[in-house]
Symmetry: C2
Subunit: 537 residues, 2 copies
């Protein structure tokens, strides 16, 4: 048990302390707003404490897992405080999962209670019989059971005794295999939140639009970080470009975190045509480097984009492309290249490393590929009830991300591929990303995914799956010729398939399904050259 000593400093690190402070210091300021409701910090904190009291009343002791299935509303935000205030563990479930996936997570986490938003209740209907023993509280409308429970309970909380106790279980979205339950501690969540406060320069003026799902690494810990700063959470139950613009123009948004697809929809939305955002917006993005064209468009819309990198296992962004002041004077083209790199560890982390197969750091040459490994207080405690999976990603105390990258001469890491997505053709490594970038540079291409395909002579060869822009046309031969102009011949895809790309609940392309198309009958898993994938960003 970790318990600080010293008569005055015996305070466990926990993000619930942020609510205590903001309730005190920002009592009359808006904590949460959406189209239907708004709560001051005093009101919001009262609701969280009553949620805590209700859970304690219902008999959930310390360490009880409470699952939540809700869009980005006050309900899920309140659960980020009310559940840990009761000593419970928050299990925020991805709302885009299928009923059987939800059932798996509920069973694996041992959840005893499920708070479900009315908007998502129907997800539970196919598994209603299996959930018979679960205490389900429906939330959402003013007359919901959740509101009744809150209004009838007393504001009771339990102190955080051990800062290494679990605060949350976040299941990976599982692009391969079963989802794994990533364990977050109070300590880790507190520290990562502080890193986000300083990284995004959050303060009481912050108006944070919830474009990033709160179920995704607890919203990269911004659920707690925005609260720490006394800023305002702006709920957004459904993310689309026009709703984002409505909020930008009506609610004075200052910050938002967006997946690449959300960024694209913001730029493409009709709302963007009415001119740039009325005040500068700090936009953080991850998952894929923002393209120079996108950066330019966002700049024109009064949005400053920062590229971050992390995984569920690292509480979200543990790596940030820190802007070096010397870059100010470089050309937009050069800075786009620099900004596309993943960067360096955030302020609470240890410097990240990129290691070779012998666990040695690769040289800082921008060329030598290795696996990115991360260590620090903002790395998970491990996978819940899965010591084998935890052990499989442990490289002498460093967490194996399963991502391959290089280190540039300035120490900045740049990802090149997922370890499992590297194609080995005739003994040569081909990263799927370099082939994808070559194809994406063709003006007709909207989206592309490159995977390995079995080949009698070379072992593997690259194959591409492509979606074209509406109204555009290109043949596979033309695309192959296009790639040949920039890449070596052995990297040119031998097959190009034009089709929609399968995506998972968080919008990531599911390459394993594409691989299955090509490896059907040959056992696609035999193409794994590296430890198994261990989560998602």
């Amino acid at each position: 048990m970790v318990r600080p000593v010293g008569p005055f400093s015996e305070v466990s690190l926990s993000p619930v302390s942020f609510l205590e402070r903001s309730e005190f210091g920002f009592r009359d300021r808006p904590a949460y707003v959406d189209e239907e409701r708004s709560y001051t910090y005093a009101e919001f904190a009262g609701r969280c404490r009553r949620l805590s009291g209700a859970l304690i009343d219902r008999g959930y002791g310390s360490g009880s897992v409470i699952a939540v299935l809700a869009p980005n509303t006050n309900v899920l935000l309140e659960c980020h405080f009310g559940i840990p205030l009761a000593g419970g563990v928050l299990n925020a479930i991805n709302t885009r999962l299928a009923p059987l996936e939800i059932l798996y997570i509920l069973e694996h986490s041992g959840a005893r209670c499920l708070i479900v938003h009315e908007a998502l209740s129907e997800l539970l209907q196919p598994i209603a019989a299996q959930l018979a023993g679960l205490d389900i509280i429906t939330a959402g409308s003013d007359g919901s059971e959740y509101e009744r429970v809150l209004s009838q309970s007393s504001p009771t909380v339990k102190p955080v005794v051990d800062e290494l106790d679990l605060i949350a279980l976040n299941y990976t979205s599982g692009t391969t295999g079963r989802p794994k339950g990533v364990m977050y501690s109070h300590r880790g969540a507190f520290l990562q939140s502080l890193a986000m406060v300083s990284q995004a320069k959050l303060d009481a003026r912050t108006r944070f639009l919830w474009t990033l799902p709160m179920f995704h690494c607890n919203g990269w810990t911004f659920t707690w970080a925005v609260t720490a700063a006394g800023g305002t959470h702006i709920g957004l139950p459904k993310v689309d470009g026009d709703r984002v613009w409505e909020n930008i123009r009506k609610n004075g948004v200052t910050h938002m975190n967006c997946a690449p697809t959300v960024l694209s929809s913001v730029v493409a939305a009709a709302g963007a045509t009415a001119g740039p955002a009325p005040r500068p917006i700090q936009v953080a993005t991850g998952g894929a480097p923002p393209s120079p064209a996108l950066i330019q468009q966002l700049t024109g819309l009064n949005m400053n984009v920062t590229h971050l990198y992390g995984l569920t296992e690292t509480y979200g962004p543990s790596v940030v492309c820190e802007w070096q002041p010397e870059w100010d004077t470089q050309t937009a083209k050069d800075t786009a290249v620099l900004r596309a790199r993943q960067g360096i560890s955030n302020v609470v982390g240890r410097p990240i490393r990129v290691i070779d197969l012998d666990d040695r750091d690769v040289p800082e040459d921008g060329a030598t590929l290795g696996e990115v490994v991360i260590q620090g207080n903002n790395v998970m405690l491990g996978y819940f009830n899965d010591p084998e999976a935890t052990s499989a990603v442990n490289a002498n105390g460093w967490f194996r991300t399963g991502d391959l990258g290089v280190v540039h001469v300035n120490g900045y890491v740049e990802l090149r591929d997922r370890a499992k997505d590297v194609i080995i053709s005739g003994g040569e490594n081909i990263t799927s990303i370099e082939v994808e970038q070559a194809i994406a540079s063709h003006p007709a291409v909207l989206e592309v995914a490159v995977v390995s395909k079995p080949d009698a002579k070379w072992g593997e060869v690259p194959a591409a799956f492509v979606t074209l822009k509406p109204g555009s046309e290109v043949t596979d031969a033309e695309l192959m010729a296009h790639v040949r102009r920039t890449l070596a011949g052995f990297k040119v895809p031998k097959t190009i398939v034009f089709q929609e790309l399968p995506k998972n609940g968080t919008g990531k392309i599911q390459k394993f399904l594409l691989k299955k198309q090509l490896w059907s009958g040959t056992g696609p898993e035999s193409s794994a050259h590296q430890p198994p994938s261990n989560g998602t960003q």
Copy 2:
């Protein structure tokens, strides 16, 4: 021993990790500059590691106290990393102390080694005989022993095993009694540094001018915080208004922390007449609330002032007057009143409390006086080798600041007086600050201190010590009449003495010496109505 568990997160919290990260991510950026030298982060980190190696070579084991006597130069900054990297404890000594006070601290701390800057060597001459057994390393010039030691040592460091180990001993300036050694832990210093990073919005663009002594609460932990952000430290061995302006105009200062007297000298300096600062400067101040006139002057000079409050025992500023966005629309007069309050706890602290004699929180009415008490990870572990003094300031786990204040309806604390400086006259409490403010509002007055004076009828009455502005004149009767216009008759000083005010090494008025003048023979200590003072801001 506090040691986080989990295979990937076994990392102790320590501000030395900030140097590791900035060396990696900001290797070519300037870490330190002054008129004579500049070091990149790579160079600076190398020097710190070689200092660590030298201390290890000299046989100083973990926990060894290494004292340092140096102005605000790279030497003292390097000691903030090099000493803890060797497992040592930094004891940065106030350079304004008298030789015998320095000797007391060296002996009490058990320091085995003293790094002294050449500019201050003569302070040691009167105590040379007593220091015969001490390992003294002289630093400063290129040919100094310190430079020789660094050039000959290898870069060796020890890992931080327990984050609650001591990182620094900071002796209170002792306005009453002997200085006490305030114990800082790695954990507390790390967390307070993060609070300062987010509070001051430090980043890689930060150019921090060292107007605040680094020996003062380790420079309010900005020694570590600026390093965490990858900002640049600008050394300033001697603080005067014109040197500050030279740096502002030449070095692009973005941040500085200033005692009220330094702020006054900056405003009054000839350098200020050349126009406002070329870029906005964030100025933090503490010790006394900035006056509306001063705030206006600073605003005109492109400086934005934030009012902070803390003590040596709280790693510097644990309380901050957080600007509420709603204040933007208020008049300058109203915001000056709001800005003069001390405020709320910083982001890593627990909400501060103001308690009555029965340890109950006073009402939030802006009127009921109580003692300010603080708890949190950024409160000291205790006084070094002085359990009695530690126990004397312990109110059920809350640190007694010895400061009296009120809580306003918005939760913001406002100090009214030091507990020991309250005057009890005929059973009525008079805070010395309210009388001082009434006298200071007279245009002829430069400085004033009000203390209690024995009185046969009332027990105590207020007495004032006043310094006039050059060329101004006013009589004691005129000043008494001036006070009577705003305060009740029993608060009007019965005696007014025109004289220079005695100050200690950090520029604070030593009221106990003034009291001694008035209480001589009557035992001034009998006027203490509260626990003894426990440190200084």
